[in-house]
Each structure stands twice: as structure tokens, then as C-alpha cells.
């Protein structure tokens, strides 16, 4: 078990390095507007906006083909950021594309996993590791919560779980004060 964990860890680390390198080596020079829009999008790569990923959606917005309220993972804050960037008015999220949900991560039930690799093929960010016919695991740190791996799984062993509140992610909330009008 330990060996497997270490092996996976090393694998994850190594692929991370490789990806970092690849990102620099194969950087696509593109339209600066698309770059800027893409930088605001959450990169969940879920396709709920109706495009094949965040970048295609960014291209569509830049081309004036898509509205700015189609990304559920980005939510209302994301729409506000896009509006700010493009000098437009924010608007509510288009319910056709989905609803805003708390961030979640996929977990594979390792007892039921048959090692079919279908989820690996579906994951847009290579967040799942495992070899054919062996148990697969989601690297929680890399999972964007896009849910694309759920449907292909033939034994329904992948579930989305919300991030548990922890000391390291806990935040002070907006002060709940009621301002009395001055007399």
C-alpha cells in the first residue's frame, strides 16, 4: 500500500514537472483578449458553457459569439470579473448552462473500481491515475470537480464529495452588522 502511494506520488510529481515544462515549451501564442478572458475562467474544463473547455468558451466570448453568463463553476463572481474585464454589465448566470455549486472533488470507491480506464480518458486534466485492470485513484489536489468522469464509469463508483471545511481553508466572513441610520 505504502509503496503504491509513494509510486503514485512520484508519478504525480514527475508528471507535474513534465507538464510545467510542456506548458512553457508548447506555449501557444494567441489573441491577447482570449488570453485575458481565459485567465478569468475557472479552468474546470467541464463544458457546461456549451464549449469544449474554458479556452474555446473564451474564444467564443472574444469573438462576440457567446454571452458572459454561461460558466456555472465561475459563478456570479466569475461573471462580475468578466463584466469588469469587458466593460459590460454583470448579469445573472444563464440557468440553461447550470447552477452554481460549492466546489467538490471526485473520489473513486476503490473497492468497486474495475480498472476500466474510462474515467482516465474522460478527465480533462489527467487527475486520475491507475493502470488498466488496476484500481484507479483521483489526485484530489488536481481534480477540478468537472464531473466528466461520472457518466463514463460503468460501475458508478465515482462520487463527488464537497471539500470538508478545514482550518487551512476557513475564512472570516463578511461582518454581519446592521448599520443604524444616524439620528
Amino acid at each position: 500500500m505504502i509503496v503504491a502511494v509513494i509510486a503514485l506520488g512520484l508519478l504525480a510529481g514527475a508528471s507535474g514537472l513534465l507538464l510545467g515544462f510542456a506548458a512553457i515549451r508548447f506555449k501557444v501564442e494567441g489573441d491577447p483578449m482570449v488570453e485575458q478572458i481565459d485567465a478569468v475562467l475557472p479552468q474546470t474544463q467541464c463544458g457546461q458553457c456549451g464549449y469544449a473547455g474554458c479556452r474555446p468558451y473564451a474564444e467564443a466570448i472574444a469573438a462576440g459569439e457567446a454571452d458572459i453568463n454561461r460558466c456555472p463553476p465561475g459563478g456570479q463572481n466569475g461573471i462580475a470579473a468578466l463584466a469588469e474585464l469587458l466593460g459590460r454589465d454583470p448579469k445573472p448566470l444563464d440557468p440553461e448552462s447550470g447552477i452554481e455549486k460549492p466546489k467538490m472533488a471526485a473520489v473513486i470507491d476503490e473497492q468497486s473500481c474495475i480498472g476500466c480506464t474510462l474515467c482516465i480518458q474522460a478527465c480533462p486534466v489527467d487527475a486520475i491515475v491507475g493502470a488498466a485492470k488496476h484500481m484507479h485513484t483521483v489526485i484530489a489536489r488536481e481534480c477540478t470537480g468537472c464531473e466528466l468522469c461520472l457518466a463514463p464509469c460503468p460501475v458508478d463508483c465515482i462520487h463527488m464529495i464537497p471539500f470538508a471545511p478545514s482550518i487551512t481553508t476557513w475564512k472570516w466572513t463578511y461582518p454581519a452588522v446592521e448599520v443604524k441610520a444616524a439620528a
Binding site: 513534465l18 507538464l19 510545467g20 510542456a22 506548458a23 508548447f26 501557444v28 481565459d38 475562467l41 475557472p42 479552468q43 474546470t44 474544463q45 473547455g53 474554458c54 479556452r55 480498472g115 476500466c116 480506464t117 474510462l118 482516465i120 480518458q121 480533462p124 486534466v125 489527467d126 487527475a127 488498466a132 485492470k133 488536481e142 477540478t144 471545511p165 478545514s166 482550518i167 481553508t169 476557513w170 475564512k171 472570516w172 466572513t173 463578511y174 461582518p175 452588522v177 446592521e178 448599520v179 443604524k180 441610520a181 444616524a182
Partner: protein, 502 residues
Amino acid sequence: MSALFPFHGGLKTVRHKTESNQTPIQAGILPPRLTVPLRQHIGAIAKPLVQPGDRVLKGQMIGQPDGYISAAIHAPTSGVVSAVDQQPVPHPSGLSDLCVTIESDGEDRWIDREPVDYHRLHPSELRQTIRNAGVVGLGGAGFPSAVKLNLAGRSEPLATLMLNGAECEPWITCDDRLMRERAAEIVAGLQIMAHLLGPAEVLIGIEDDKPEAIAAMTAACAGTSYEVRPVPTRYPSGSVKQLVKLLTGRETPVDGLPVDVGVQCFNVATAYTVYRAIHCGEPVISRVVTVTGQVHRPGNLEVLIGTPFAELIKQCGGYRDGVERLIMGGPMMGFALHSDEAPVTKAANCLLAAGPAELAAELPVLPCIRCGACMDVCPANLLPQQLYWHARAKEFDQARDCHLFSCIECGCCSHVCPSHIPLVQYYRYAKNEIWAQEKEKQRAEQARQRHQARMERLEREKQEREAKLRQKAPVRTEVVPHLDPLISVPSPTKGEGSGQVG
């Protein structure tokens, strides 16, 4: 006496020191069960070294520092580990964190303690010993001291090593009592720090409402070049940047550290633990905690880390009537505990059982009248009113431009605001939001790169496949239709770039 350089703003507060500083430090009782959090410091959480069922000795390392900015954690007494799991810890959220729970065997049996002669150690070995003893800033910050004792990479020698004995917050007296009773040990610890840092001067800042502590520390410094400098009693003189300004006149840059202006500063209690680590071979497993406010016998207790706060209250005679809140730290910068079952940590300097008299009455919040009182008291020289407008409107970029991150959350502004606006709450909220957004951005960027790399890999594989197909084209014409990849049943390896051909 040398000149002082007053900092901007600050407050005269009601001291409330005599409630707890009239009696000597008492030894805390040995509780039957100790819950020791593995995160009691700034930096990475310590890695547990024990499992349920393990026997541990007092002083045995049970959590290993994980990385450079991290700290070791030790068993405060001997006994059996009953759990390594999530337990409530003292934190404003009231959430749990990873803790080692030890059932005490009542023997309190130590590991072999080995005092070391620090003059014979290489500086890096000495730092390692301090690191392995779990020494962190005991003034409340909890920053690993070994890191601050390493000046490698700085070209200039250190001008000033400073010891902070100001203890400016109302109610808290643990450093006062420690200085009165254990000045020689504190100075011995300071000598070790000076040995590592080689400063041009060593200054000890103590607020002038502690004449006994000043006298004791001055006596302990006799024969050394160390200077005790009484400073006027003015909150927050014990805040690092303000004390640096007071004693040296140097202004720490907005986004910098005191070491950037040649000063390294430690709390007196930290120096004491360095002494115990080196001269006694004892890691940090206890600390002095002020227990005050609405308890029957306020005072200072030297308690084991991991002792439930309720035990401290019990030892001080229990709660008096009308306790509304239990505060860890002082009334200005402390926070309310969710339960008195949470354990003492290295950062726990004070436990204040607050009743209506100790709590500022919650008055109705009125609109800001732009009076500027907040600006006049801000020791960080900020424009609290401006910060408030931006934080309230969630204009985080502007708040940051107004030096939000220089705010030390001292609470002076909220304290004087005639409109009773909880200003600090807004600043904390804004800081947390900015950090969270930053983390979110990093995650998104990582996902973007991984996605792009995947797309490139798929594209490359597709081309390779096509190239292979082209090579084998003559053979392919004979292939029976059901083997065509487009209509074959999904096979596990399909799309992964192998197996379709041949």
C-alpha cells in the same frame, strides 16, 4: 537612558495587570488526558510519528517538522497514545485539526535529557537542536525560531537582536512573571541566540508598568553588554514593528520584515525555551499561561501543552458568575474560544474569562462620520477609514493598494471609532478573501496547464496513429469492418494510443 522613537498612534488602555501578576507562577496539575495539536506554529503541520497504542515518554518527539518552515511537537508527559485524529483546537473557527491524544500514566517519566555545550556545536547543529526541540515564537505568532536564527543569505551582519518583553495587551502577565522569576534563564537563552546571530547590540524592551521585571532583567544582564530599555506603556508597543521603531528608530518596510532593517526580534518566553532546550535538553512541552478575568483565583500557571483549558479554569477556582465568553489571548487581539475543552498550545499566552465588564458593550453600528479618529491611533500609519470603505465594498484591489496587508489587526481603530464600526472584522474578511482568491487562481492556472498538456498529448498521439495507419495502409484494406476503430466496441485501451492497429 537612550532615546526612544515613539511610533505613530497607539492607545492608553486600562491595564488590568494586577489581577493576575501578584502571585508566583504555579505548576499546573498533570491532567489524565492531553490533546496535542500537530499544528501549533506557522508553516506546515508536523508529521505524526506515533500511532494509537504506542507508549511515549515525556519529551519524546511525536510530530516531525515537515519542511523548513515547520516545527517539532513532543509528548508533554509519559503515557499511551490513544488517538491520532481530528480534535477541536483553539482557533476562531472552532474547527478540528490533527492531534495526538495521550492518556497519561501518571509517572511523568522523561526521555534521556542531554544538555549540550553550545559553544562546541557548529551553528547549523545548534539550530538543528533548537528546531528539534520545537521552539517557536511564544508571543502568539508561533513562527519557527530556528528559521529566524539563520541569517544565511543575508549579506549584512545583524545590527540588533531584540527581546520583546513589552507585553502591551491588557490582562496578560505571563511574560511579566517569567521575567521576574526566571530572568537568568531568559538571559541564558538570549546568549545562545546572540551566539548564533552575532548582533552588534542586544536590546530588551519592557513596558515601564513592570518595574519588577525591569529590575530582574537588568540584574540578570549584569556583566553583559545587553541593555534593558523600559518603554512607555502604550498599546501596541509589543507589536514587533512598533517595538523596532521605538527602540531603534528604524521603520520596517511595508511588505518587509524587521530583519530587512537589521533587527531580529524574539519574545522573552521564546528565549526561555531556547535555554531549556540547550541547557536542560528539554523540548517545548509546557508554557506559562495567564488565567484571568472572571475566575476565582486569577494567576499564572505553568501548564503542559495539550491540557484542556477547563483544567486551568478549575485550578484557578472555577468561573465566577456572568462569564459570557472565553478569550484566548488578550481582549484586543485575542479570539473567542468555542469550547473550554480545547487544549493549551504553544501560542496560548492568556485565557481571559470575560464577563460584561471585560467585553466592550456591543453598541449599535452607525455610519462612518469621517472623523479620522481611527487614522490618529493607527500604529501602522494606515488610513483605516479608507480601508474600511474598500473592504466593505469588496474592492479588494483598492484595499490592497491602501496597504491592507500592513494592518496588524491591533484593534486600535475599532476601539476608538465613535460609530462602533467593527473595522478589524472587515480587514480580516478582506485579507482572507484575497488569500482565497489567490489560491483559486493558482489552482486554475495549474488546471489550465494540465488541460493544455493533455490536449497536446492527445493531438500527438492522434498524429502518430495516423502516421502508422498510413504506413500500414496496404494491409489495412484487408481488415474486416468490425475491427475498424470507429465502430468497434469500446475497449479499455481505446483512445490511449495503442492496440487499434494490427
